[in-house]
């Protein structure tokens, strides 16, 4: 904390890149370990869910018309006659081999089904996240420059209201207003009649771009406008509120007056100094928003009749397709874990204090 003749020269060497690599590896090893633990908990939860479901799995799998003999045969085939712990270990073993079970509706492995429906949802969530950041960050920063007046007061009220609008209702109303009344945008499905693109990534906009088909790209984009706008309205208003509060804290920090004393303009103070300091908690929030976006995408996909995870899950729930439901929940949970790792990496890359704390921690252990 204080100057001492011995301490100062030692400082620069501690942060030499060569020695910094080891603590970074340790940091990510620890985080990945935690993610694996989280996933294991998730799997256990999912397994417990299959056990607590009322009704006989073997009966469900064999079909409602099956006789007792067929049900017993199915029970043996599914391994449901083994002790619970054995079933649990087998469940994990299958998961490790990418086997999420077989859907009783599509008769396909759940993983194969997810490969089919996931890209469309990911495309929607990815575009929503981009819009989310591109809207919330500049608007919050520009609003902060007004300090409670004009645009700031207006956006605060607008965001408070927008965050309280149910997404599925906004979707429905947009569909009605812009699709039915004004007829300016496609309101249902994800592609125009006869528009085809190769199925490389499963994301239609990306596939259209990769295959050099601008009209198909425009088509796919137009179908994304309403769903993405609906989701972005909700999530960006949430992110805006968090960033606005965080900016207020940052702008009240002691280092702001010295920046002003340099002759910096209000805009410079906000964008170059307050914003970087205000961002870390907001990045964390954006990471947790991904999980909620996947949940909200389920609702929005239902309204706009997009074939994605939402429609698949809703259908699976309606048909009591247990493995499909659990497989989807597990897969989404795994994705969220990966996103959390990514958020940790971004925070570490952007926050020098966090980096220093992690390095020091690695050094002590």
């Amino acid at each position: 904390m204080f100057d001492s003749p011995a301490a100062d020269p030692a400082l620069p060497n501690r942060f030499a890149p060569v020695r910094a690599a080891a603590p970074l590896v340790r940091f990510f090893a620890r985080r990945i370990g935690l993610s694996v633990l989280t996933l294991l908990g998730l799997v256990t939860l999912a397994f417990a869910m299959t056990k607590f479901i009322p009704g006989d799995e073997a009966q469900v799998a064999a079909g409602p018309d099956a006789g007792p003999d067929q049900v017993e045969a199915m029970r043996a085939r599914l391994g449901l006659d083994a002790p619970a712990i054995v079933q649990y270990l087998r469940f994990i073993w299958r998961l490790l081999h990418g086997d999420l079970g077989t859907s009783i509706v599509t008769y396909q492995p759940v993983l194969r089904d997810l490969e089919r429906v996931l890209p469309s949802t990911l495309e929607l969530v990815a575009i929503t996240m981009v819009l989310n950041l591109v809207i919330a960050i500049p608007v919050a920063t520009i609003a902060a420059a007004q300090g409670g007046r004009g645009l700031d007061a207006l956006t605060r009220i607008a965001a408070a209201i927008a965050a309280g609008l149910p997404v599925f209702w906004v979707a429905l109303m947009l569909q009605f207003l812009l699709g039915t009344l004004a007829r300016v945008l496609p309101i249902s499905g994800q592609r125009g009649f006869g528009v085809t693109v190769p199925n490389w990534t499963g994301m239609r906009t990306l596939d259209a771009l990769l295959s050099g088909n601008p009209s198909a790209f425009l088509d796919a984009s137009l179908y994304l406008v309403l769903p993405a706008a609906t989701l972005a309205l909700h999530f960006s208003s949430q992110l805006f509120r968090a960033l606005r509060a965080s900016l207020e804290l940052a702008a009240a920090s002691d280092f702001i007056a010295p920046v002003k004393a340099k002759g910096a303009s209000t805009a410079r103070i906000l964008w170059r100094h307050a914003l970087p300091n205000a961002l870390p908690p907001v990045i964390t929030l954006a990471g947790t928003q991904i999980a909620d976006m996947l949940g909200a995408a389920v609702l929005v996909e239902a309204v706009f009749a997009r074939q994605g995870v939402g429609a698949y899950l809703a259908n699976a729930v309606a048909q009591k397709d247990t493995f499909a439901v659990i497989g989807t929940v597990l897969f989404v949970g795994a994705m969220v874990c990966v996103v959390n790792l990514l958020v940790d990496a971004i925070l570490l890359a952007t926050d020098p204090r966090l980096r220093a704390a992690e390095l020091a921690r690695g050094g002590r252990q």
Partner: protein, 278 residues
């Protein structure tokens, strides 16, 4: 910010709104005419007029009265969900504070599983297991909602357990459990109340969404999400049947969210807004 003793116009508006919505939730079912719950196909899809301010729905029922009657299943069940999981959160945070450190770590890791999951998707899973109904949606959300509350409380107790007066009491031989229930938790009450209000706002959106996709309240319930779900097929011809319950959800969600903001300002729970999920 300093606590403001005066009631501003904005704050008063929010209080009045919340009071009106609560009144609708408690008395709506008693006041609503019989016809709110029975069908009269001859009067279906009447647009808003002097007699039916918000028109009638596919069954010829008055939409305004159904929205008022829907406050009970929509709002009270959301309040129930948040109350249950807040209590679970309190229990978990208390346990984490009084048990040995390794168990504390384990509990907090457990909450991370909850944080990694989208509430809507998990609730859909639970609802599929238990059969779709408002009760299963309420149960599903109650048992999946607590991790954030638990983590928030744990972070507060971690700070208050090292406060001088608490440490002093510990030196006097007061048990950690007693300290927790007598000193630390009462001090966290403000934060809990603020969070409760904000969470009701979020829960009512999610619960409506679950009913909308068919895993929550089922028709003919006047629950707002179920009403929108029912109205979905007729939006292009009878927009009011979908617009009204959605506006009710929005009004309620915004009112409770603003109530949370006001409570935060007045009670000054510093820890409640920032870093709640981190």
């Amino acid at each position: 910010m300093m606590a403001r003793p005066h009631l501003s116009l904005g704050d008063a508006t929010v209080f009045v709104l919340v009071a009106l919505i609560l009144a609708a939730a408690v008395f709506g079912n008693l006041l609503a005419p019989e016809a709110t719950f029975s069908s009269d196909i001859g009067n279906a899809f009447l647009p808003p007029d002097a007699q039916h301010w918000l028109g009638t729905d596919s069954q010829g029922r008055d939409v305004l009265w159904r929205v008022i009657a829907g406050a009970a299943p929509s709002l009270l069940s959301s309040m129930l969900v948040v109350t249950i999981y807040s209590l679970i959160g309190v229990v978990v945070a208390t346990l984490a504070t009084v048990v040995p450190r390794w168990l504390d770590e384990g509990l907090m890791r457990g909450t991370e599983i909850g944080l990694a999951l989208p509430g809507v998707i998990v609730a859909m899973g639970f609802a599929s297991a238990m059969g779709p109904s408002l009760a299963s949606a309420v149960i599903a959300m109650s048992i999946t909602g607590w991790p954030i509350t638990a983590r928030l409380l744990r972070s507060i107790t971690r700070q208050t357990m090292v406060a001088p007066y608490v440490q002093g009491a510990q030196v006097m031989g007061v048990s950690r459990f007693r300290l927790m229930t007598r000193h630390v938790l009462p001090n966290s009450l403000d934060v809990l109340i603020i969070k409760w209000s904000g969470d009701v706002s979020i829960t009512i959106l999610v619960l409506g969404g679950l009913s909308f996709v068919g895993v929550g309240a089922q028709p003919p319930s006047a629950e707002w999400g179920a009403m929108i779900s029912d109205a979905r097929s007729y939006v292009s011809t009878a927009w009011w049947t979908a617009a009204a319950p959605g506006a009710a959800i929005a009004l309620t969600a915004v009112s409770f969210s603003l109530l949370g903001d006001i409570l935060q300002r007045r009670l000054g729970g510093a820890g409640a807004s920032g870093g709640a999920r981190s």
